[in-house]
């Protein structure tokens, strides 16, 4: 029987798990995203619905409600807009640096969910649902992690594109049309927020429940947990 990663074993030596570019962009993106969401909630307060005036509205559990003051950034609409349109530049830059690093270093291979990961994703799901007792063997990340991390990058791309499409709906009319028009694009842009929030909650929970040493690894780069750091 192969040694399961969860088995008790002598203390492992520290290994280098995350390059400083990955650690930097990770935390910068987290903080910038927080600022984008908070200023976005301030902007949302000015017109808390989705649809043309006098027309049908898209279903929205937050319709006509404003978010608590502590969750909003900017103080008023102009302040919210200026924060949003200032933080967008470093956030896009951080996203590009991260993506470029993954491509150049080849680390994308450990992160990108591909067709061949489907079987492993099913095995991981069975393990989490306690349908199988043994943790399937994995590389740096298990297939479900790959799926989550690939999706969140895709979500980031969608957040930026929908944002561009409502920032300049005439100059990027083709993009606004692609997302279903101005109000629909606002709607999708708004929903990316809740997917980001849900992802972050799940991500943080799993870090501390499944692999606490990975938290330290994302700060210092060094890791002494039970999972491999290379594929």
């Amino acid at each position: 029987m192969p040694a399961a990663p969860g088995a008790i074993s002598p203390p492992r030596p520290y290994v280098h798990r995350h390059h400083w570019i990955v650690r930097f962009t990770h935390w910068a993106a987290a903080l910038l995203l927080l600022g984008m969401i908070a200023s976005g909630l301030q902007i949302y307060a000015a017109y808390a619905r989705f649809g043309d005036r006098g027309g049908a509205l898209l279903p929205n559990p937050f319709q006509d409600s404003s978010f608590p003051k502590w969750s909003r950034l900017g103080g008023w609409l102009a302040g919210g807009l200026n924060w949003h349109f200032a933080l967008m530049w470093p956030l896009v830059l951080v996203g590009l640096v991260y993506t470029l690093y993954l491509l150049v270093s080849g680390e994308w291979r450990a992160l990108l969910f591909r067709l061949r990961d489907v079987r492993g994703a099913i095995a991981m799901t069975r393990y989490y649902l306690r349908l199988s007792r043994e943790h399937p063997p994995q590389g740096k990340h298990n297939p479900l992690q790959k799926l989550a991390y690939s999706s969140i990058v895709l979500l980031g791309v969608i957040a930026v594109l929908t944002g561009v499409a409502i920032y300049k709906p005439l100059q990027f009319a083709w993009l606004t049309t692609l997302f279903g028009g101005f109000q629909a694009t606002r709607y999708w842009h708004f929903w990316t927020v809740w997917i980001f929030v849900a992802f972050t909650l799940a991500h943080v929970t799993l870090v501390f429940v499944v692999d606490p040493p990975s938290f330290r690894a994302m700060i210092t780069g060094r890791y002494r947990g039970r999972f491999p750091s290379h594929d």
């Binding site: 600022g35 969401i37 043309d52 006098g54 103080g75 102009a78 349109f85 200032a86 005439l170 009319a173």
Partner: protein, 234 residues
């Protein structure tokens, strides 16, 4: 290779910027000038990189008009003229030929009509039909001097004004509107004359017009001076 130290410094700035999110804060007096500086950069990108005089806003069939289009003004009561017959549009500043135009003069000029979507900075949109004379036709008549780069549009609604760059003003869909939805422009939408363009956010579309002044310096504006983006191009 980007210096690690520079990167960390950037991280610090980004971090501080975002932490204030948890306070329902506007950023404070120290951050405000920095935000406005970035806003100016965004204006520059909007004006010189993204805007095209040849890209037209989508037009709609009049049957698509919205049932309502909200209207805002600054004065305590809806601005109106005591003597509408005495109203004139003054065109002055850096021009070869100052103009003093009555509503009849304007209506005798080239007429444009379109049904377009109005976009408010608040996030709402509404479709309406507008009739008027292209600003480019006024520009042809008054012949701006070489130094004229901006136009200041002024109103009789309190001290509401807007500043426009020349390229946006010359966009074929930028008009001085005297008609809305096949009727004369109603008082709540800026009668007798308002600036209209589907290329800008609503707060750039000066209502209750009295003058347009050609300038070499960028004119401010009512909301722009309070922190709203100056270019506000869609």
């Amino acid at each position: 290779m980007i210096e690690r130290r520079d990167f960390l410094r950037l991280a610090g700035t980004a971090g501080t910027a975002s932490l204030v999110a948890a306070c329902g804060w506007d950023g404070g007096e120290a951050v405000k000038p920095k935000l406005l500086a970035v806003s100016k950069l965004n204006d520059w990108v909007g004006e010189h990189v993204l805007f095209s005089r040849h890209r037209l806003a989508r037009t709609y069939d009049p049957s698509r008009r919205s049932r309502m289009l909200p209207s805002y003004f600054i004065s305590r009561e809806m601005p109106s003229l005591k003597d509408p017959g005495a109203w004139r549009l003054r065109v002055d500043g850096l021009v070869q030929q100052s103009l003093f135009l009555s509503l009849d003069d304007l209506m005798a000029m080239t007429r444009t009509s379109y049904t377009v979507k109005h976009t408010c900075v608040e996030g709402w949109t509404a479709i309406a039909t507008w009739q008027g004379v292209p600003v480019s036709a006024i520009v042809e008549r008054c012949q701006p001097l070489p130094g004229a780069r901006y136009i200041k549009f002024a109103s009789f609604d309190a001290n509401y004004t807007n500043g426009w760059d020349m390229a946006s003003a010359l966009h074929p869909q930028t008009i001085l509107a005297y008609g809305m939805n096949d009727n004369p422009l109603p008082p709540r939408h800026g009668a007798p004359l308002r600036l209209y363009s589907p290329t800008k956010l609503g707060y750039k579309l000066t209502k209750y017009l009295v003058s347009m002044t050609f300038t070499s310096e960028r004119p401010g504006g009512f909301w722009e001076d309070q922190g709203y983006p100056w270019f506000a191009g869609l």
